[in-house]
Symmetry: C2
Subunit: 217 residues, 2 copies
Amino acid sequence: MKIAVLGTGPVGRTLGSKFTALGHTVAMGSRDAANPTAAEWVVSAGAKARAASFSGAAEGSDVIVNATAGASSLLALNACGARNLAGKVLIDVANALDFSAGFPPSLSVLNTDSLAESIQRVFPDAMVVKTLNTMAAPVMVDPQLVAGGDHDVFLAGNDDDAKAVVVGLLQEIGWQPGHIRDLGGLDGARGMEMYLPLWLRLMGNLGHASFNFRVVS
Amino acid sequence: MKIAVLGTGPVGRTLGSKFTALGHTVAMGSRDAANPTAAEWVVSAGAKARAASFSGAAEGSDVIVNATAGASSLLALNACGARNLAGKVLIDVANALDFSAGFPPSLSVLNTDSLAESIQRVFPDAMVVKTLNTMAAPVMVDPQLVAGGDHDVFLAGNDDDAKAVVVGLLQEIGWQPGHIRDLGGLDGARGMEMYLPLWLRLMGNLGHASFNFRVVS
């Protein structure tokens, strides 16, 4: 697949490298096609990787991954251009963290809304699927890193075909089917995003980010 | 110990019965000392149980458990009287669920605040400890009900002695020390309370409430 990864931070770079390692073609999008972090990433990620502007990355890609900071996700997606998102799977892995009052961050959208739903409203022709936002980047791309892979990833979205594409990608990454929990429609993203404060607290409690949670019943 | 359980709902009755079974004396507090649900509970819970008004329950108790609906918790605690809460361990197991727009509920306090912190601000002389709000009542009192007890309970509070009392009670109930996760100060309650939307979604997804989550690392 041709995947656009928006954002040059640790999440974007980690996901981008994993997708190229799996054989996909990845365009890393940022405000500036000559972004030095993206250029450096291209060198490390090899022949299937390229850097581009947001719109240059989104155009011609089959799947778009929003790995930008939540506070600037709508700006980045606007820069992609609605026509470059229309009809495509838009995987939202971002969290709307507000660091304006320091650490811990608060959430800038929550409760009766979510970042994922905000994105879906602005880009009704994209097929938004929320996933992977509930863990650190190294765990996203290597479930085996934690408890032999015995922990869970969630997804939520309004389009079943789009979710099937995402489930396929998650399985390629190494997520076991029994640990991929479909929470239904995109409003399921509210709970996934509102889990972040507990995740951040657990990270402080444990002293590291190599953890996840497993639903047991 | 002498324990006041505020609230006659499933959580209050379940916790009250467990505490009496463990040998504690329990006063179930409600607006009306003659509350028929409380009276019925007293019959089922036996000689160590009694029904009382909120203030009648709190007065003379060593530990107060807030098992009221989050929307009416401050009213109930006000009815207890600040002097009956002062210097006591106040275990807050409630969630500030707002059902005014139907199901799923939203939260009426969150993000940079929590119900537990609201309670602590209004009753600064109580020692508020948040715990057990992240699971259904049957799981609270019987961790073995789920995955042989291999899952986690959180607590948060500003007073270490109060937290030690709560840890002791959790262990009496059957929670294994390694599964009791102290998240630090009472602001840790934010994450514990904001987890509720995900919990509710998982309940819908699983079709039952006999589940919990386990942190794996």
